[in-house]
Symmetry: C2
Subunit: 427 residues, 2 copies
Amino acid sequence: MNYADQNKKALNAATPELEKTYKDLTLLNIQIDMTRGKPSTEQLDLADALLAGIDREDCFGADGTDYRNYGLGTGIKEAKTLFAEFLGVAENEVIIGGNASLTLMYDILVGGMLFGMPGGLGPWSAEGPVKFLCPAPGYDRHFAICERLGIEMIAIDMDENGPDIDQVEGHVANDASVKGIWCVPKYSNPTGATYSDEVVDRLAKMPTAAKDFRIIWDNAYAYHHLGKGPATVKNILDVCKKVGTPERPLLIGSTSKISFAGSGIAVMGGSVTNIKDAAEKISYATIGADKINQIRHIKFFHDMNGLKAHMDKHAEIVAPKFAAVERILNDRLGGKGIATWSKPEGGYFVSLDVTDGCAKEVVRLAGEAGVKMTGAGVTFPYSIDPRDRNIRIAPTLPPIEEIEHAMDVLSGCIELACVRKLTNEAS
Amino acid sequence: MNYADQNKKALNAATPELEKTYKDLTLLNIQIDMTRGKPSTEQLDLADALLAGIDREDCFGADGTDYRNYGLGTGIKEAKTLFAEFLGVAENEVIIGGNASLTLMYDILVGGMLFGMPGGLGPWSAEGPVKFLCPAPGYDRHFAICERLGIEMIAIDMDENGPDIDQVEGHVANDASVKGIWCVPKYSNPTGATYSDEVVDRLAKMPTAAKDFRIIWDNAYAYHHLGKGPATVKNILDVCKKVGTPERPLLIGSTSKISFAGSGIAVMGGSVTNIKDAAEKISYATIGADKINQIRHIKFFHDMNGLKAHMDKHAEIVAPKFAAVERILNDRLGGKGIATWSKPEGGYFVSLDVTDGCAKEVVRLAGEAGVKMTGAGVTFPYSIDPRDRNIRIAPTLPPIEEIEHAMDVLSGCIELACVRKLTNEAS
């Protein structure tokens, strides 16, 4: 039954069974956490060779530099070689960070606010209000950084090609207070969208009123496919160089969801000008990231072929979980006119849209039935989903049986909440 | 000959031989770097067991938490146990950071500027000019953070008991823009002074106009003695709690000069209020420090007895280098009235004071003779040594033969520069 086509009478008639189904679900007394975009134990096990010992001789660079000591604030040569290729930049266009790309991005925005960016007029905070474009739904921690720093967020609609580029161009053309945009260009968090060539091209060449406008290119899922091999996204730095905006993109990546989530390596790429600026900024705060961990990662991956082969193993573990989400949502909600969802080919999330005005209620009902979902709205700036319809599903962490169970519960909650809503609004 | 007692004629007579000695030194064509407060290869070798493998089972906490994954933003339980004792605080009064205490301190000051501190009126930067007390000579990187953030530095004289506490009390009593003080309480960088009980007590209880005044208690050399076992400094947090200023101190430490300089563990301690505040601040920027490295350190040290025994081994390596500095300076400059120097019982530096107005010239002469010394003045706020007399010697890194050689050269440079200066001023 497509609920959206029904009149009030039909919807009323359908409700008691949905309520009984939901009540039965609450009696099962389950506890499943579907909130966390974390790798599972099996995924982490893939990298256990990182726990193995390394030799003293591994700790010395080709020039004799002792990597156990202070120094090399932007990373060891061997790591730059690997991660330059990882990001698609040159070796002098990369900085090896610590274990969190979030730190790199936080520091970029703090640095912009306090000290400014190459090409700009000085500290952003001295120019008055600062704004950032936030394709939404998006990554809640991106938005939290903006909110924390008092950067005004402007939501941009997302579609299957990335952010609505007309909207983006409209905001940046005449407003110099718009200093940047958050982008997750591949398997975007949470919609799974991969940016089209046109979107990348237009992001690179669009005129911006701010001379120090920055694209935070958080390619968090660059190699995180679900079996078909990673999708291709145009190299933003290459495009920007070609169209004369080499300072515009700051590329971010990490191995958090490749090696160990808490002990990976985060990296930043960009033009030599930007890398020099970033290196100078971080020099006040650090003596450089952990070089021994860099060595361990080099010995583990060897090269990009090794890293890509490793990600194929991740795909084998993760793909069936995404398939389970798709299967059950389709079985339970397909054709009912109350929910649509993404069918990503990579990344860590499924993005689910329910009937407008129902997301919060669905999450509440699911919680009462023992299935913890990410809070509705958190994937939007200021945690406000204007249509209260989006729910983020994180299938990687729980075992497949729990995912199936949770999707079953979630489907029941969606049916109940949406049909109640439609009933109220129907004539 | 005590040059300070001589008349112009005697000084003039002494100069040619000093010039010849210096010229001979420049002809030796040596290259020695005495600038870096870095551990030597032999010291790093002491920690090579950190390179050994650990087992998968080591990666799980007692409650089953998988330390390879995200989570535990303030550190694993086992690390908190060790480093709480390391800092002399309770387990809920500690945050385990990344590999650099510098990052913790930078973040403390950035956090104060942007968001404020518990007990205060909000962001420091919103209150107008912000000032920090800087006992000097001190640690150049402390001062660089202040300068970077536009925090006005007020130099405080150092003596053998720590900062001149009368000066400190005078500055903080009525000026609410004085928000903090840098302290290296044990084997201070570079003078080697260890704070007396009276200084600690008065720092804790002095009335401060700023309600959110903070002592950055950078106990960088807490266990870094030269053979007699580490000196004792009163526990600043205990004292502050007793006198009703529990939020005043922020304790900082690290294993950078204990395990591996580039891959150690930095820690922060303080009242529960301060720790909660700091944890909230860093939650925007990090998913927590590398927990696998925390495990490695726990397995290496086991406990504080293990760590202290490890530091005794460092002392065996480092002490002869400090002794060489003392021996040669004493042989070459003792009784000549142109130089005094510290005789530290721990830490990483010897602080040398030459005739007023001569430090820059000594460093220049030494550089021309192939001995690179830390730039004169860098141990003072804004790199200005008002008496141009202080030179920092870092004896840990070079082999002992190089240290002896370098001190010989430095002594020749000091004699030449100071005698020239005294000659100009003599009657």
